[in-house]
Symmetry: D2
Subunit: 373 residues, 4 copies
């Protein structure tokens, strides 16, 4: 049992606070003899790194990762992989005025009631800075998965504005500051976010993560379901309040025949699904179809707008948060969600290999998924 580890066979333990000397993680269970250098990890950290546009926090750090254990001559050795990122742009003075105040909607007061102590500098352990280590772990998880697996994320909603799915184009993602697959929405979001940023406010968002090419058989009944593990992984990302798989909440409104992902046989003898309401998971086990997860990110509670709070002495006090913050934390949650998807899949890939070896039943070929989203 651990408060700071996730995964079972691909097991990640993180440590570090926002304004401590460094953050780090230990990855246990990675197979031996996988080529691995910092260059495999850094690009994913760069995607999540703050300060890359005016729409994310202006904290500027290189987030340069160092591998300090578990790799020899550029190959994993099967022993624990330790990663460290030094913190270089802490400005703890920013937080002096909220050390004894509890921001509404923030973890401050919950930590206080639980532990009776907290590190207030930059949110301490509750800071989204910790997610850098998840992104680093995700980069390693990707190397464990079969090469067929492609994991991608997109921001599909900011505030009340959703993308138009008919315009969904993965190639648009790198062309804007939002991981947005819809160029029209991206332009609108820029305008909206500028207004929010200038107002010192923040806004929520919805992130979608897709994994294609994952083999069937990942996950397990009853309490190791792939969807349950994905739900836990995504809900555990800072500020996430909701998770859905496939049709998600919309499935509540469907009838059985509408929700059925019907099947037929392809000429090559493989199975074709005619739809993917299930989001690639049935009975907690992957079907070979695209695995689709969406999660909602609330607006950050660190805002310039004054709200009514209390302090540790039990006095009412107005609260205004002046540090550097993301107007829409959902943006930087995209690479984090991708990383969590990679980690969960890698964990279940190893779990499947443990229990079932390399077994694939001969009688029924694996699916060719013809669904379009």
């Amino acid at each position: 049992m651990s408060h700071n580890s996730f995964g079972h066979l691909f097991r990640v333990t993180t440590w570090g606070e926002s304004h401590g000397p460094a953050i780090g993680c230990v990855i246990d269970g990675a197979p031996p003899r996988i080529p691995l250098t910092e260059a495999d990890i850094q690009p994913f950290l760069d995607q999540r790194r703050p300060g890359q546009s005016r729409f994310t926090t202006q904290r500027r750090e290189p987030d340069a990762v160092k591998i300090v254990s578990g790799v020899h001559d550029g190959m994993t050795t099967g022993t624990p992989i330790a990663l460290i990122i030094e913190n270089t742009d802490q400005r703890s003075r920013d937080y002096a005025n909220i050390a004894d105040r509890f921001r509404p909607g923030h973890a401050d007061i919950a930590y206080h009631w639980k532990y009776g102590i907290r590190d207030p500098r930059g949110g301490g352990r509750s800071s989204a800075r910790e997610t850098a280590m998840r992104v680093a772990a995700g980069a390693i998880a990707r190397k464990i998965l079969p090469a067929t697996v492609v994991i991608r994320g997109a921001l599909v909603q900011i505030g009340a504005h959703r993308i138009d799915r008919s315009r969904f184009d993965w190639d648009e993602i790198p062309r804007n500051d939002f991981f947005c697959p819809d160029p029209v929405a991206a332009a609108e979001w820029a305008t909206e976010l500028d207004a929010i940023r200038k107002a010192g406010s923040s806004i929520g968002a919805v992130v979608e993560i897709q994994a294609t090419g994952a083999p069937p058989g990942l996950g397990a009944p009853i309490y190791a379901k792939l969807d349950a593990d994905l739900a836990s992984a995504m809900m555990g990302i800072n500020a996430v309040k909701a998770v859905e798989i496939g049709d998600g909440f919309a499935a509540a409104a469907l009838r059985g025949e509408q929700n059925a992902d019907e099947m037929r046989m392809n000429p090559d003898g493989s199975v074709a699904f005619l739809a993917n309401h299930a989001g690639g998971i049935l009975g907690g086990i992957s079907t070979g179809q695209p695995i689709i997860v969406r999660f909602a990110v609330k607006p950050t509670s660190s805002i310039l707008t004054e709200v009514a709070g209390v302090d540790s002495e039990g006095r009412e006090t107005p609260i205004q948060t002046k540090g550097r913050h993301d107007p829409c934390v959902g943006i930087r949650a995209v690479p984090v969600g991708e990383a969590m998807m990679a980690c969960v899949l890698a964990d279940h890939f190893l779990r499947h290999r443990a229990q079932c070896g390399s077994f694939t039943p001969a009688s029924l070929p694996l699916p060719t998924n013809i669904t379009t989203l």
Copy 2:
């Protein structure tokens, strides 16, 4: 690591298939000297039991639970509590025609690809029958929690029809067959479900679970967050496709100041929250406010309507499921969701006691929650 256990300090392991001789569970970690008899568990099982109205499966079983270990002279001994429920109304012939066919939207094909073998009788291990043991475990979990904790569930949506929250009344729950808190909605649902049932179809639903009176401090950063564990617990219930905490997906549309649960001090020195967008959880830790979770249940794939499937020999085949099934599995998911809430809270109650003892910081009194839903 386990595929069939959940919880860490209040740890539940279940076993059994729908049409085997029995189902059972083992509960490890329950404190000693808690009064416990079958009578503490049976009422919750009766709530979930099938065959109680025309809106649930017509399988009729007493679901009589037996305690076979861990209790002496009516008191828990601190050793593992084993529970068994005998299966008495299996009709395996119902399933002979689907033994080699894969129902669209059902776990059949995923089990086949993963294991190369499955028990097709009544869904085998993937049957919702397994959830009876969760309900039994939940009854014991409730006895571990402080007496202040009240856990209740309601069905808040069937198909596209949501309740009117202005009519939300817990007292309505036992007056209809749907755990519906809104008498008007209940009447409409009866009509709708009758039509669906007669058509041999099924429909989805949304369940809401609330826990009031839970102490602050349950949960822990970073990977033992209370909301992440609730998400996993609820998503792991059969047919669940989405989970949200507090405002959930609606939080994506909010701005920071709208989402802030502002605070003031009560005259008695306790903290009052002015809203509960967070659903009682901040930073993964409970705040003392009501803990609120909703989850979507898809329509069951076991329907009379013919859909296009394949068989284990790779032949296309129409599929019609003739056994006894629930037209809306969401109904019986209500007591299951309550039980999972109880189990997760009990687990975190023990976890908190382990790490933090009975500590409550003196400087800031616990909250008095004045929020109405």
Copy 3:
């Protein structure tokens, strides 16, 4: 975390008390499609069963195991395997006089101080009866291991009398009542044990378990060492007070060159070890040599001889234990030790498969072990 489970990927959870209605276990993680019936398990239970000679407790029970979950058409399905053995020869009246007394050397008082309650009938949960489920689990573990693995146990010491290792012969084991590999020692032990039995006393013993044919690579640094897991498994058997691997305590007296298991190459290119001081484990990982474990079993504290104890009211009281007991519990510990060896190896077999797949380095053939014991 669990108090009543062992193993990680081959995970066994047991429940039940000596005088409850039944004992049972749940085995999680067994691979699918392994042929399994009760007939695979029963012979091992029969070896451990009491009442087979005058040297073990006269409690007589068939210990008939039933598989109630996880097997379909004679094959494992990958879902949890549940086993149950009904208790049929409880005589709880035997224990009435010790319900409130604490036998010196027995778990009674430790349970009392920990839990404030205990089931005194037959030792309740602390009874060696629980080990029947370990034996059953071990029978399934053996089916998971490669067919080359042979696990055998022997009693090598009773009281101060050790076997003569020059007479060690596995074929002698079934010819006496002690699992003794030395016919001379077996005859002497019979005389000695008769005297002890008639005196109402008991005696300690040493058990040796060997596993041959296990592949190299089982186990892992640093805290999943094969020897550490074996130490835990054996020390966890009732009444065990010491465990050693290979030369064990005798290694303390050796110099480095004496303790080195030197190697040379066989003509076929495989590695030959010239000795096995290490007991088949180096750095926590198996080497392909025979894995050798010994453990000491203390004399049972349940004796007719009167000893000085106290009762739950804090009064001094002489204690005499009149129930049916084993004069040498070490005898029946032999099949239990074998089972624990099987379970630990199966767990590590699955763990190795998870992390390393089917990898075997091509550059250095696996060992041909030429060591004789």
Copy 4:
């Protein structure tokens, strides 16, 4: 599940190789608000540090520990505590000649067969250097335990020479280079070890660890027994081949009445044990008596004496290990054994608090232990 973590509620994860840039650990589950600085940890590291006498390896490093997470204003915060020690005196050239050779009795070949790759510099992950982190973790574990708990270790045997227990005196420990409680033995050992050191050989040893003042109730049946966890912890220390509790292997030679730790009542109403054959543990649960563990440490396989080995190409080769090594690794195993005792007790202290709260049954006062060793 983890290969590199131990403990459940006091959970330690270590990383790092002998000749990497640093070694470190993450401690999860430590209670909040415990005063903690590096000065609490460093003295224990200094005890284990190499190069302090001519009887340990001449590698000289300050082993200066840094706390990089989990402490704020000198107090633990309840979040993970991360510790780092930089490696400063690696001389990897020492190991170039054994990079492709497998030392008899060393983990080299086992790692090779398991992983197909290893870091040969200084033994890589298999080096005893990793135990520095266990010692650091143990220092923190001590702060979690009740102040009554005193944990001490001693070397009680080197080679064939045991101490004379009638001369056992804890005060002698700091007066010699061996943690030896017997001044006469210490003098003899100095002579013997000088000879071994000059011969380039090595010798085994036996370590004894005692914990006094531990409360009854630590540990749990069936698979979380305190003695099983201690056995695992001690057997997991590098080079350990045997573990015993209390009388250990000697218990095999005893009769039931000899092994019974009889009890009487003290005038103050507490329980007095008249002996401690059990080593303070009955039924896997502590009794309040001194907890006594001994373990055997084999002679290190890194010796100057030439032995017959093989290389990774399958060629026979004589092996001579020229680096800096301990002639008796048992010496430095003393503080490591103490640390493992502290960690296991702290873990069970938290486990007990989780399940049983602060419960102590009123009917029977806790023991006053009058046993002398």
